[in-house]
């Protein structure tokens, strides 16, 4: 819809690398990760604590604060791709 320009500024692959490093998932190769796999229940099998860790890493690296009271959180945290899209959208809205 709106993403071709911003997607290059912040790619889901880059986020995958950040997540693998941030969560110390040493047994995963960020280049091989399925970006559309669900983050929870199957897929990457992350939990709520991992979400906090990821949020802190994203905040530190990109200055984007993920909010607990965002009504779209379910969609935002669906996959690495959706999370990257969200961060990219926030960054581009900031200009």
């Amino acid at each position: 819809m709106m993403l071709p320009a911003t997607a290059s500024a912040f790619s889901a692959r880059e986020l995958a690398t950040l997540v693998v490093e941030g969560l110390h998932l040493e047994d995963l190769d960020p280049q091989q990760l399925d970006l559309t796999a669900p983050l929870f229940d199957g897929g990457l099998n992350l939990d709520s604590l991992d979400v906090l860790e990821i949020s802190l890493v994203i905040q530190q690296r990109y200055g984007v604060k993920l909010k607990a009271d965002d009504p779209n959180n379910k969609a935002i945290f669906a996959s690495l791709q959706s999370l990257a899209d969200h961060v990219a959208a926030v960054l581009s809205a900031r200009g």
Partner: protein, 295 residues
């Protein structure tokens, strides 16, 4: 260990249902008398709870458990279930509640920061209703599993509306807790059951088990002080809310095995209180058989 907690909860559903019905049908003194045959029957028929109680009491007393002690243990549990019905209905006047350590909470909140309260199944976390009253106007949020399949809360008519609940098991549960803590609020979380999450091995009552690391990670990341919080039953109509210092929070970036000292601290403090209030141990499942829970 999820299946154990669920199974033992299922097992006690009829107990809870019966107690709630009684509490509403007859007065508390008669209810407490009727708890004797009910608990007697429960001890006879619920092998999981009976064995868990026997094992815990043996560990805490350092000698074989007598039958009457298991009975007393379950009776304490049943008594708190009964009283929760009254508390859920807002009927607090009939209870004598001692509160210790409230100044610690205020001191923790002083610099404008939040405070993480580490709870346990020593005593009842649902007694956070009492703690909530004790905490008066201080902003307190309770992390708990709000599982529609868990009928216990529904049966007991516990109104979560009186507490600000952060439901566990949602993607943003811990993010929510973090936000509230860093905004200067109080968050309470149970820290003695692993439930499939990341854990570290600890010694508890001289036996190996595992305890979760998530609560300690939350404290470390948000950089808030932690206190332990107990809601204890002292027999009769007496309850006790205690806030206790549990030692330093882990440094902000700690992870994995670096959290061992704070998990050990928590386990040691829990053990100290378990020795002091053994009949308040409400983990009625095989607590020490958490093989494979550690990561």
């Amino acid at each position: 260990m999820k299946h154990w907690t669920e199974r033992s909860e299922r097992g006690s559903v009829w107990l809870i249902r019966l107690i709630v019905w009684l509490a509403r049908a007859v007065g508390r003194p008669l209810c407490r008398a009727l708890l004797h045959p009910i608990v007697f029957y429960f001890v006879l028929t619920d092998g999981v709870a009976r064995r868990a109680s026997t094992e815990f009491l043996q560990a805490v007393n350092g000698r074989p458990t007598r039958w009457i002690e298991v009975f007393a243990h379950i009776y304490y549990f049943a008594s708190t279930l009964l009283d929760r019905v009254y508390m859920a209905a807002g009927d607090f006047d009939r209870f004598q509640v001692t509160i210790e350590g409230l100044p610690l909470v205020d001191r923790a909140l002083q610099p404008g920061g939040g405070c993480l309260l580490l709870g346990s199944h020593l005593g009842s976390f649902d007694l956070m209703i009492l703690a909530h009253r004790a905490l008066d106007s201080r902003p307190v949020n309770v992390m708990m599993r709000v599982d529609p399949r868990s009928r216990v809360r529904n049966i007991a008519g516990i109104d979560d509306g009186t507490l600000r609940v952060i439901p566990l098991g949602q993607p943003d549960s811990f993010l929510r807790a973090y936000d509230l803590l860093t905004q200067g609020e109080i968050v309470a979380v149970l820290a003695d059951r692993v439930d499939g999450a990341a854990s570290l091995p600890v010694n508890f009552l001289a036996r190996g088990t595992a305890m979760p690391i998530a609560p300690h990670v939350l404290a470390a990341r948000s950089g808030v002080p932690t206190l332990m919080c107990f809601g204890l039953y002292e027999g009769g109509n007496r309850y006790r809310i205690e806030f206790v210092e549990s030692g330093a929070t882990a440094s902000s970036a700690s992870r994995g095995a670096e959290l061992q000292p704070v998990v050990d601290q928590y386990a040691a403090m829990l053990e100290q209180y378990a020795r002091r209030y053994p009949l308040n141990w409400f983990n009625f499942y095989p607590y020490w058989r958490t093989d494979g829970g550690a990561t």
